[in-house]
């Protein structure tokens, strides 16, 4: 009740982009702009967020395969063990905990499952807004798959 009139305004901002995710993502909470930039400030965190367009739940290992395929511009079956391990280790030790901190995803340690969090929707809307200027082949690659 301390935020009179504020919470409802987020619904008006909602574009048709988000409508397709409404069914699979948890209800969004208010998110300051700073955590959005923090979440998207590293390529691997952006790629991880792109995968949330495809599904709201991922195993960490599958996610590592997908991100490694994008980074190295190879099909998923051609990702080497070293490439997979490099991405897996950095997701586990750095990027996943940071996105959990920002409320963009949740992470089940026991099953190593990543699920979209309460702030996922705002981050995906921001990614959509950045679509006009993808800054690398990988970004184009990642976006291409998301449109499929």
């Amino acid at each position: 009740m301390g935020m009179d009139g504020e919470p409802d305004s987020s619904e008006e901002v909602t574009s048709d982009v988000s409508e397709s995710f409404e069914t699979q993502l948890p209800p969004s909470d208010i998110l300051e702009i700073e955590p959005v930039y923090e979440a998207l400030g590293h390529p691997r965190r952006r790629y991880l967020c792109y995968t949330l367009f495809e599904g709201a739940e991922w195993s960490l290992s599958d996610l590592a395969t997908k991100v490694a395929a994008w980074e190295n511009d190879v099909p998923e079956h051609a990702v080497s063990e070293d490439q997979h391990e490099d991405v897996y280790v950095s997701l586990y030790h750095a990027h996943v905990p940071k996105l959990v901190d920002e409320g963009v995803i949740t992470f089940d340690e026991a099953t190593e499952t990543i699920t979209a969090g309460e702030h996922a929707e705002q981050v995906l809307i921001a990614l959509e807004g950045m679509g006009a200027s993808p800054d690398s082949n990988q970004e184009t690659h990642a976006r291409g798959e998301m449109d499929e």
């Binding site: 590293h42 691997r44 070293d82 490439q83 391990e85 490099d86 897996y88 280790v89 950095s90 586990y92 030790h93 750095a94 990027h95 996943v96 905990p97 940071k98 340690e109």
Partner: protein
């Protein structure tokens, strides 16, 4: 003071933190910014060697609980203001479980394990 060998590796015995605890070096790895594999992989590989496991078996807690490794990677090895590599010299030290980890701007990551001198 650190003693360097010809290939730039710092000797293990330049350690002193804690009055009674000795910190022998148990593993080290070198990070190459231009090669496949990020700084997180370098650090986790060194810790994995110290623990005698594979890098993907180093779990709980994540390094993120100690330091933000991609931020260190950017600070030491990211593109400089002029587009070249950074010239800054420094070391980040942190504790990870029982280990002391040092990440140096020359690319060397070293892992130290505490030993109690009285217990040998």
């Amino acid at each position: 003071m650190s003693k360097r060998t010809d290939d730039g590796i710092v000797d293990a015995d330049d350690q002193a933190s804690g009055a009674d605890t000795h910190w022998p070096q148990v593993a080290q790895r070198h990070y190459e910014p231009d090669e496949q594999g990020g700084l997180t992989t370098t650090i986790v590989s060194a810790i994995a060697e110290a623990e005698g496991v594979s890098p993907s078996e180093v779990k709980s807690p994540p390094l993120y609980d100690s330091v933000d490794v991609p931020a260190i990677e950017e600070a030491f090895f990211g593109p400089g203001a002029s587009g070249g590599s950074r010239q800054g010299v420094g070391t980040v030290e942190f504790r990870y479980t029982d280990y002391l980890v040092k990440v140096r701007s020359d690319g060397w990551t070293q892992v130290y394990e505490p030993t109690e001198p009285d217990l040998r």
